[in-house]
């Protein structure tokens, strides 16, 4: 039977585009820092270059937006999202409204790639939605998403791309599977 992993937010106020820089300090040693956002990687570069030339100032933030670091800011609203990972383990997380499911997966270290960073060019963020939830997703399945899904391994009738689904109240409680299939068995 699947074990239940329940993760809670680390108490940090982070918003989209910055969450991965948070991950890199939370999980150092266990995993290495990852990026899904251009903004983050650009800043990462800038800061590393500065550090390299010894002009680095610790007061410089990795993020462009410093407002959310004030502890006074309200905690963003979240809904429950459950991922079933490749080992069959269930991970229920508090997903921030407005984030994509890919961003949620990254934040909570769910094993889901996002090679093209959410630009509909890779299908490494393929998720299989529970049948009774599939129809409830408000984000329309576009022709472009279908084109990309056609390349996904283990494609099912309820497959979606994690980077194309935005967390909202409508999907509070949704359950999604990270596909286990890693071989392309189709004849294409």
């Amino acid at each position: 039977m699947a074990t239940m992993k329940c993760l809670t937010r680390a108490g940090l106020l982070v918003s989209r585009g910055r969450l991965l820089s948070t991950l890199c300090c939370r999980n150092i040693g266990k995993t290495y820092p990852k990026t899904t956002s251009h903004i983050f990687s650009q800043n990462l570069f800038k800061n590393l270059q500065k550090f390299n030339s010894r002009q680095f100032q610790p007061s410089l933030s990795l993020s462009t937006d410093t407002s959310s670091q004030k502890p006074t800011k309200k905690k963003p609203r979240t809904v429950k999202v459950t991922f079933v990972d490749r080992d069959g383990d269930e991970i229920t997380v508090d997903a921030k409204i407005g984030d994509t499911l890919l961003e949620v997966a990254k934040e909570y270290d769910v094993d889901l790639e996002g090679a093209c960073e959410g630009t509909l060019s890779c299908s490494t963020c393929h998720l299989i939605v529970d049948k009774n939830w599939y129809e409830k997703i408000p984000d329309f399945l576009t022709e472009e998403e279908q084109d990309m899904l056609d390349l996904a391994f283990g494609l099912t009738d309820t497959s979606r791309l994690g980077c194309q689904i935005v967390v909202s109240d409508a999907i509070d409680g949704i359950r999604l599977k990270v596909p286990t299939e890693t071989r392309d068995i189709r004849n294409l």
Binding site: L12, V14, S21, T22, C24, C25, I28, G29, K30, T31, Y32, P33, K34, T35, H38, S41, L44, F45, N47, L48, Q49, F51, N52, F56, P58, L60, S61, L62, S63, Q69, E113, A115, C116, E117, T119, L120, S121, C122, S123, T124, E143, E144, Q146, D147, M148, D150, L151, A152, F153, L155, T182, R183, D184, R186, N187, L188
Partner: protein
């Protein structure tokens, strides 16, 4: 402490110790060398490092610049595909992974030497050659491999002076119907103003500005149900401004009634081809044209004074095998000739053997392996692995290569758990022993990267690639002084 300060701290920590990582002395670490810094190399490293705390990885690369076909294959007008570079960059900047460029394994260091420094070596060096058609006249001027054409517009060192005859005629024939063939067709048919804004090399833009090619014919041995390109790439082609995609309606008609029975990806692709197909009457003289031609095999390059004037094709019939699985093309004995000044063969990349110690299957063009473990005459060579195109053959997108790399990394992790990895003979850091060479580290590449972006900015593109290895090394030197 605020999260961002610790983030900066941990980044600086990784950066500082980058050079020292893996150096001798450290006990209890599993040290892995990866040969090749394409997606197979980086994704193998990614999986190993993510799954195991005690693994340190060195990625060796023959060129001074990383990322393999992401840089030298993926088309310049597909920048989104290259976003994966950001992830690889983050990995290379941690203290658990080191990029060592400008070292050719097999030439500068052989596999056995390399193995003596590491517990495991992963061969992920891709496919650097290409298949030939083996037909008369193939050496004529005007016949190019897809690989050299792609390497030319993408700035692979050594290809900048490829002497293409873009202005000697208006028709180019591409042999092959895969995504690489479509990439080439797109580069030949896209309005130059669009291309200029990409990271395509300026030498390619200059040459393409003289191009007279208006029609590209993509030839496939088999029929519409066997095309190898994917739907996204075809749809993009059909939307290209000032260009018509020509698929003959009569070629598609026989499949109209069976489309609904096809598996979803093939079904949607065939539907799009049927929808795009026409009798060709809507094509005006001003349009650029991409034409798909089915059931033809190349027979001979028609040349005058060794200059390509056309190509002779045999018309094929399609035979389905008894269980309906495989469709083969059989020559009908009927031929046709197409006038053209350029022929591009896009029938596949091919891997080579870089070291006689590697059990290489010349016929399949891959390293003999089982789940990424290199196998010689039925016996697994402990501590030697392969990943990516050199393991599976040169097909598939980044996703395919990623899954494949994860499989190899999984095998390494399993072997490590079971104590199957050999111990390395030396505790020395290989960097101390390769003094005669000029290894390029990741921070050196970042200097090249910075310079390329600076040059790009001057002309309104994301980067202007540097195509000379000497110049790359000079930039690194200048930055050190």
């Amino acid at each position: 402490m605020s999260w961002y300060i610790s983030a900066v701290k941990c980044l600086s920590r990784s950066f500082k110790s980058n050079n020292a990582a893996l150096s001798g002395g450290r006990r209890g670490l599993t040290r892995i060398a990866i040969v090749g810094s394409g997606p197979a190399g980086f994704y193998t490293a990614h999986h190993l490092i993510k799954q195991c705390d005690d693994v340190r990885v060195d990625i060796f690369e023959a060129l001074p610049v990383p990322f393999g076909l992401i840089r030298f294959g993926v088309a310049p007008d597909h920048p989104e595909v290259k976003n994966v570079i950001n992830q690889f960059t983050t990995l290379a900047l941690t203290d658990r992974c080191r990029f060592i460029g400008n070292i050719n394994i097999g030439t500068d260091i052989n596999i056995n030497q390399l193995r003596s420094y590491y517990n495991g070596v992963v061969l992920a060096y891709g496919a650097e050659e290409d298949k030939t058609m083996g037909i008369k006249g193939e050496d004529s001027y005007g016949v190019f491999s897809a690989r050299s054409f792609v390497s030319w517009y993408n700035g692979l060192p050594g290809y900048e002076n490829l002497n293409l005859n873009l202005s000697s005629g208006d028709t180019a024939v591409i042999i092959g119907q895969g995504n690489v063939a479509l990439d080439i067709a797109r580069i030949l048919l896209t309005p130059l103003d669009t291309l200029k804004e990409t990271d395509i090399c300026s030498h390619a833009v200059d040459a393409l500005s003289f191009s007279k090619i208006k029609k590209v014919i993509m030839v496939g041995r088999r029929g519409p149900l066997q095309v190898a390109f994917t739907i996204k790439e075809l749809r993009e082609m059909t939307k290209l401004p000032q260009c018509k995609t020509m698929i003959k309606h009569k070629d598609m008609l026989p499949y109209k009634d069976i489309i609904s029975e096809l598996p979803r990806p093939r079904k949607r692709l065939t539907e799009l081809m049927l929808k795009t197909s026409s009798d060709g009457r809507d094509i005006s003289n001003d349009d650029n044209v991409l034409e798909l031609l089915f059931c033809r095999s190349p027979m001979e390059i028609i040349a005058r004074n060794e200059i390509t004037k056309g190509i002779k094709l045999e018309i094929n019939e399609l035979i389905e095998d008894a269980n309906g699985g495989n469709t083969t093309a059989v020559g009908s004995g009927e031929y046709e000739t197409i006038d053209c000044s350029m022929v591009l063969r896009s029938i596949g990349y091919k891997s080579r053997n870089i070291d006689p110690e590697i059990p290489f299957d010349e016929k399949l063009g891959i390293i003999n392996n089982s789940k990424g473990r290199v196998v010689n005459n039925g016996t697994t060579i402990n501590g030697l692995y392969c990943s990516g195109w050199v393991k599976r053959g040169p097909t598939g997108v980044i996703l395919t290569t990623m899954n494949d790399a994860f499989e190899t990394a999984g095998s390494i992790i399993e072997d490590n758990k079971n104590g199957m990895l050999p111990s390395s003979n030396t505790a020395r850091d290989i960097l101390n022993d390769i003094k005669g060479f000029e290894p390029v580290l990741f921070e050196d590449w970042l200097k090249i990267d910075e310079e390329e972006k600076r040059r790009g900015e001057l002309v309104g593109k994301p980067r202007e690639k540097i195509v000379s290895v000497l110049e790359m090394l000079q930039i690194i030197k200048n930055n050190k002084n």
